[in-house]
């Protein structure tokens, strides 16, 4: 499966090490459509290929949007991309957030750090179909205010009357006037009815584990909680073997999983 060419339309710096690329397909082979939660393999010649979640609005069909943290050999090269540069893309791959399946329920989106990126498409979809949901809650935690993604959008979302948006940081350096405390402290404050709640959770695994515990304290059942799991990935098609978590291939069985179906594997050491 060959990657298709995309041209960088815009680079937006989110935080000191994170940036969002808006990409335009060079020809009709490059697909921009995806379902929230899916990922693409992004490729730069000579650097390599990395799996990155799509972070844009699934309803707009013009650009492909990816938010990338510059932490590895490949993403550090991607950090140097400018408008007009080329990038190659394979995908989209993987399972999706149960956004449509959750219609009629309360929907609680809980993101930690970079975890907001794969959840943003789900939130966009919920907002555009707002009337199909009961209560809508977005809880977001980051280390510092400077680590928050999509700050302008967050502000806009916080102004919406029919959505509860809570943001907290661990360490409030630099004129932060919002909540302080880890993401789990926001869960008791969420205005949702646990009996009819579907929760979508994304962040580092440790954050997701404790978030699920807190959701359970509020009696949200594990089969209504969905998580996105990350592992080393080379092919995205189940061939390279890298992304195995027990019997699970994260690339083709995931990355989005119903929590009760993966919890036994997430709890094991060095697996």
């Amino acid at each position: 499966m060959l990657p298709h060419l995309f041209r960088v339309h815009q680079v937006h710096r989110e935080t000191v090490d994170t940036f969002t690329l808006q990409l335009d397909p060079v020809d009709e082979r490059g697909a921009v459509s995806f379902v929230p939660g899916q990922f693409n393999m992004l490729y730069l010649p000579g650097a390599g290929e990395v799996p990155i979640s799509v972070s844009g609005d699934p309803a707009q069909a013009k650009h492909l949007t990816h938010t990338i943290r510059s932490v590895g050999a490949v993403t550090k090269v991607m950090d140097k991309l400018k408008r007009g540069d080329l990038l190659a893309v394979r995908g989209p791959f993987g399972t999706h957030w149960p956004v449509e399946e959750a219609e009629g329920n309360d929907i609680v989106i809980i993101a930690g750090g970079l975890g907001l990126a794969p959840l943003r498409p789900a939130f966009y979809q919920v907002l555009s179909d707002r009337e199909k949901y009961n209560k809508v809650v977005l809880l977001y935690g980051a280390r510092t205010p400077q680590d928050l993604l999509y700050r302008h959008e967050l502000e806009r979302w916080r102004g919406l009357l029919d959505v509860q948006v809570e943001v907290t940081v661990d360490s409030p350096v630099g004129g932060w006037h919002g909540d302080v405390g880890v993401i789990t402290t926001l869960i008791p404050r969420g205005h949702f009815d646990p009996a009819r709640t579907v929760a979508l959770v994304c962040g580092p695994e440790i954050m997701m584990r404790y978030t699920v515990m807190e959701l359970e304290k509020r009696e949200v059942s594990q089969n209504k909680i969905f998580v996105s799991i990350e592992r080393n990935m080379k092919c995205a098609t189940g061939f390279c073997g890298h992304c195995q978590l027990g019997p699970i291939f994260i690339c083709k069985d995931g990355p989005i999983f119903r929590f009760d179906l993966v919890k036994d594997w997430l709890g094991k050491r060095d697996i």
């Binding site: 060419l5 290929e49 943290r69 080329l86 190659a88 098609t237 073997g241 890298h242 094991k268 060095d270």
Partner: protein, 387 residues
């Protein structure tokens, strides 16, 4: 020669003296013949046009961490078992290029690097290896995604299987029911019979392509006595096999043994070299590499066999998931005997014994699994005693 058309399932006999014809007929049909031959004191797989390149009159002596070639007292063509190579080197090559890029005026372009695969005839594929090919078929062909390169290679082969008439020193296929007799997945399956002055091959036709090839090779219908002699040899192989591995309830047992002390013990002994994964005929993991030519104009994206024993195999930003060796050994063994069953509905082990022979630390998976099985049985007894 009786000129009846051969069919699937037919049994015929070819004399050793006519064996070269088989290779010639395959060559006529534009197959490149590959089979076992001796190199660097081991039996490996390589191209051949003459059957004399086979390790005629040689056998291998295998044990934990040992492999030696030894002269036989006869001139058997297939009087040995499996060596360090497996057929995956042809179907799932150690290195293959996926795509290349070259610089253009406004960026770069991507072109496929996948080449037309060679048309290969495999000579001397053992029952366990047929099972291994079937296992890799599931990985690359029977899931949601199909590996086009593997598919093209796989569709371009002719398989001459050989039933084992002697057990190798580390084999345990009989207990896994993956050998020593080839039951499917071949075009032709041979059983070599060598008694006194008789030296012939009982040939089972496994496909129409096999029938077509055999039609062109001098052969006779097999007599009941010849069939019986061949069957007896294969049966004797089963009896000879020294190693066993009990697969019953193994998956459940292992799933309940993630924190078994045996893993700590293995973590102490295992060197993390990954030899077992390289010689394993079912191991399929790969990593990718990007290379740039010296001008910086073209790059190549390749995949290369990888091993779950390497530290970086499980690397995600920030670190490796499986840092202790115990966890890497556990991943490998769990995959073969537990998670593989959930992924593909079969075991990831075919009982070929290569990982035992080629382990420099003398680790024998059959012993390790038995240790876990026995300790668990003992625990159950203890609990039973208390109640």
């Amino acid at each position: 020669m009786v000129n009846l058309l051969l069919e699937n399932g037919d049994l015929v006999v070819i004399e050793q003296s006519d064996f070269q014809q088989l290779l010639d007929v395959l060559a006529e049909r534009t197959y490149q013949v590959v089979g076992p031959t001796i190199r660097d004191s081991a039996i490996i797989y390589d191209e051949m046009t003459s059957y004399t390149k086979l390790p005629i009159g040689w056998t291998d002596v295998q044990g934990k961490g040992t492999y030696r070639l030894k002269r036989r007292e006869d001139d058997a063509l297939f009087g040995y078992t499996v060596g360090p190579h497996s057929w995956k080197k042809y179907l799932h090559p150690p290195v293959s290029y996926l795509w290349r890029t070259n610089t253009t005026a406004d960026g770069f372009q991507v072109t496929t690097a996948i080449e037309e695969p060679p048309k290969l005839a495999f000579i001397g594929v053992r029952a366990c290896e047929l099972q291994a090919i079937a296992a890799q078929d599931q990985v690359f062909l029977q899931g949601r995604f199909v590996d086009a390169d593997y598919k093209a290679r796989r569709e371009n082969i002719f398989v001459v299987a050989v039933n084992c008439v002697q057990a190798g020193g580390t084999c345990f296929c009989a207990s896994l029911k993956t050998g020593p007799k080839a039951t499917s997945g071949f075009d032709l399956a041979l059983t070599e019979v060598l008694t006194g002055t008789n030296h012939y091959f009982l040939v089972e036709i496994g496909s129409s392509a096999g029938a077509d090839v055999m039609q062109a090779v001098t052969h006779q219908p097999a007599s009941p006595a010849q069939i019986e002699a061949a069957e007896a040899l294969v049966e004797a192989t089963t009896q000879q096999m020294g190693r066993t591995l009990e697969p019953l309830d193994l998956k459940e047992l292992l799933y309940n043994s993630y924190e078994h002390p045996q893993w700590d013990e293995l973590g102490e002994r295992c060197l993390g070299c990954g030899s077992c994964t390289m010689v394993c005929p079912t191991c399929f993991c790969t990593t990718t590499h990007d290379t740039i030519d010296v001008t910086g104009e073209t790059t190549a994206h390749s995949k290369k066999w990888d091993s779950c024993f390497t530290m970086t195999f499980s690397y995600i930003h920030g670190g490796n998931v499986r840092t202790p060796l115990r966890s890497r050994y556990r991943q490998w063994l769990m995959h073969k005997f537990a998670t593989w069953l959930d992924q593909f509905g079969r075991s990831g082990c075919v009982g070929c014994g290569r990982c035992i022979t080629w382990c420099p630390a003398y680790i024998d998976i059959t012993e390790e699994i038995r240790a876990i099985q026995e300790s668990t049985n003992k625990q159950e007894e203890k609990i039973g005693g208390k109640l």
